[in-house]
Amino acid sequence: MSAEDMRIPMKVSKDDLFIQGLDLNFPEEKKTFNKLNLHIKAKEKVLLLGPSGSGKSTLLNVLGGLIPSVIHASMQADNIQLISNKAFVFQDPDAQFTMPTVEEELAFVLENLQLPKVEIRDKALQILESLNLPVSLDTNINTLSGGMKQKLSIASALLQNPSCLFLDEPSSMLDEAARKTLWNTVESIWDNLTVIIIEHRVDYIWDKVDRVLLMNKNGEIVADDTPQNILDNCLKQLNNLGVWHPYSWEQAPVFKKIKPEEAILTVEDLTIRRKDKTLFTVDKLTVNKGEWLTLEGPNGSGKTTFLNSIMKLIPSHGSIKFKGKVIKKTKDIVGQVYPVFQNPELQFITHKVYDEIFINMENLFDIQQAQKETESLLKAFDLSHVAHLNPLELSMGQKRRLSVATALGGLPDLLLLDEPTFGLDQKNTFDLLNHFHNLISEGTSIIMISHDYNILKRYPSRRLEIRNGQLIEKEVSYV
């Protein structure tokens, strides 16, 4: 080892991360990195950008020492210097905690460090306070919101006293407000740390990092500069790779507004309850053909519940009429109204992307026509090249597109979408928005839950919000 250390250049201090000539590949896959070089100085804040499949997570895991010790891959480097006291925050709030309560989770980290029992409680309380996380120690983690779970992850990370912090899309499963709070929290603690970040939605951090690394689909670093210089010089590259950047929405698709026609859905005096408590009420809501409605509201206010109650998947009091007919059961409107759930994985029934569409078609057409329709729909949703895969093997963007496509055997009159653009990169988001517009021009109406300010002020013809226990209509103002 010492012989290798000798070869680390003088300019690299012992607290820097340094990689020279890194080759890496996973078994049965094409090479991820080929002679990659990277030098990150101590206390630098670095943002890693790139399309999905560019190897940014892999690079992060190499820098953090998880590859090859925890995740196995064949890796070779001419020279490598990593930092031993480091900590991670990952993407999925549900796959980061070992223990049931806040106290036990924080204790788990400190036990790993063999901290004596008597010091653990104070340490845990201290870190919660310093991160402004107002939960009691015996809180069950399952009852926390996504944003609070991610803050708790940061708390666990900081308890490890790291000098280098690795953040792997920590906010991608959070809504706008929680994302903002999370990044403010990160910024408040990062002064003395080297921080390496992977993040899709970069609005809050772009100006705060020192350096942006842009990677392409072949795992090469194609740009490495300050955020400002990247914006000045590489805008075209950013757009081609389809990653979000501060100017993304300037390229957003612009649609002609479509004139609404007759009313198709009328909801009157609806009361939605959850466990004996009234969640919210709807006095009157009419949805017309060709409208694009959005639905906003804080976490837990009942947005998803509302979509499910229109579908009659959960009980509610009040009247729901679809095309003049009173709806009592799910099967009264199924096919005409179609919900696309937030987790696309849970919407799939077959084991092949092709079959997922084909089973919708085979009931409507003869077999040859059904095959033709299937292929053209796959093509329209840019899924032809993955038609042979299992739906669960797709990337997030592909899964979302497929879950929308499963609605389209016939053409539903009303699509209910639960945060369809959540966690997608720029290209996939714009693609989906285009699909939605096409559907509306063909006569479908859409009610879509979204937190994304940029979508809300561009696309909906009407905006709904659940506020103070009531569904209200908001003024629409476009940018």
Binding site: G64, L66, V70, I71, A87, F88, F90, D92, D94, A95, Q96, F97, T98, M99, P100, E104, A107, F108, V109, L110, E111, N112, L113, Q114, L115, P116, K117, I120, D138, N140, I141, N142, S156, A157, Q160, N308, L313, T330, K331, V334, G335, Y338, P339, F341, N343, E345, L346, Q347, F348, I349, T350, H351, I359, N360, E362, N363, L392, T406, G409, G410
Partner: protein, 265 residues
């Protein structure tokens, strides 16, 4: 785990989990060796009272559980009651033959099951899962990697249930649009299992990486919760022993069943 349905805590909550497991084992053997149905009946009543008073669980949940325990007790004894041997016939219809002997033996078997269920419920309601694993690690030197894997796995159960509910909803909205064969029978079971499994495997893979990144290994560690044996363990044991002794005493003096050995009526 039962914090949301608990009204109050009792000293049983602070009894060492290992003592509880040990007592449950002893109880199992003891109950098997009791052949006097009168003793069992009194002992059952004691266990019922212990559960109601000492579990600290809200009454409606206790009632629901008792219902389930007694129904399963009755079901488990029906075979013995309906087809058992005996001379004093109470009822006969075809191959069904209920005799006084078979009835008592059936009830006897059912009571054994019910006692074990009642005691088991008391223990489960008053023990935190993490405490069991801490106790196993500290006293029985269970390697941390197994203990923590189990605890992490238990956290996943509610997630799997909620995913299952969502899958069902999705099937409900898709089913009318497609051929029934995809959403019924074996195909449906297969797709449900594959989806749930693949979600869980992916999640546990991520979790295992997260755990190791937090410095978890099978090496030495400190323990935040100390589980030790205390006087409470002894009290609990004595409580159980005394109720058994009283049951035996009562069974000698006040009969409810007209026999003192279910085997030789």
């Amino acid at each position: 785990m039962f914090d949301s349905i608990r009204l109050y805590e009792t000293f049983i909550n602070r009894v060492n989990p290992l003592s509880k497991i040990l007592m449950a084992t002893l109880l199992f053997v003891t109950v098997l060796l009791i052949h006097n149905p009168n003793t069992l009946l009194y002992f059952l009543l004691f266990n019922l009272i212990l559960l109601i008073i000492l579990s600290g669980i809200k009454p409606q949940y206790i009632l629901a559980l008792l219902g389930a325990i007694f129904i399963s007790g009755i079901l488990s004894s029906t075979y013995m009651i309906l087809y058992g041997q005996g001379d004093t016939t109470l009822y006969r219809l075809g191959i069904i033959h209920i005799s006084q002997e078979s009835l008592i033996r059936g009830i006897h078997v059912a009571m054994r099951g019910v006692i074990l269920s009642l005691f088991g419920a008391l223990i489960i309601f008053t023990t935190r899962i993490t405490d069991i694993f801490y106790a196993l690690m500290i006293h029985l030197k269970l390697p941390p990697k197994y203990a923590y894997s189990f605890m992490a796995a238990i956290r996943m159960v509610p997630l799997i249930i909620s995913e299952y509910m969502q899958l069902r909803q999705a099937k409900k909205v898709r089913a009318p649009l497609i051929n029934k064969k995809y959403v019924t029978g074996f195909a449906a079971v297969k797709s449900t299992i594959i989806t749930l499994l693949s979600q869980s495997i992916r999640r546990s893979y991520r979790l295992s990486i997260a755990m190791e990144s937090k410095g978890f290994s099978n090496n030495k560690r400190s323990f935040y919760r100390e589980t030790s044996f205390s006087r409470l363990d002894l009290y609990f044991f004595l409580l159980l022993l005394i109720s058994l002794l009283i049951s035996i005493y009562l069974s000698q003096h006040c009969f409810i069943f007209n026999t003192n050995d279910a085997r030789s009526i």
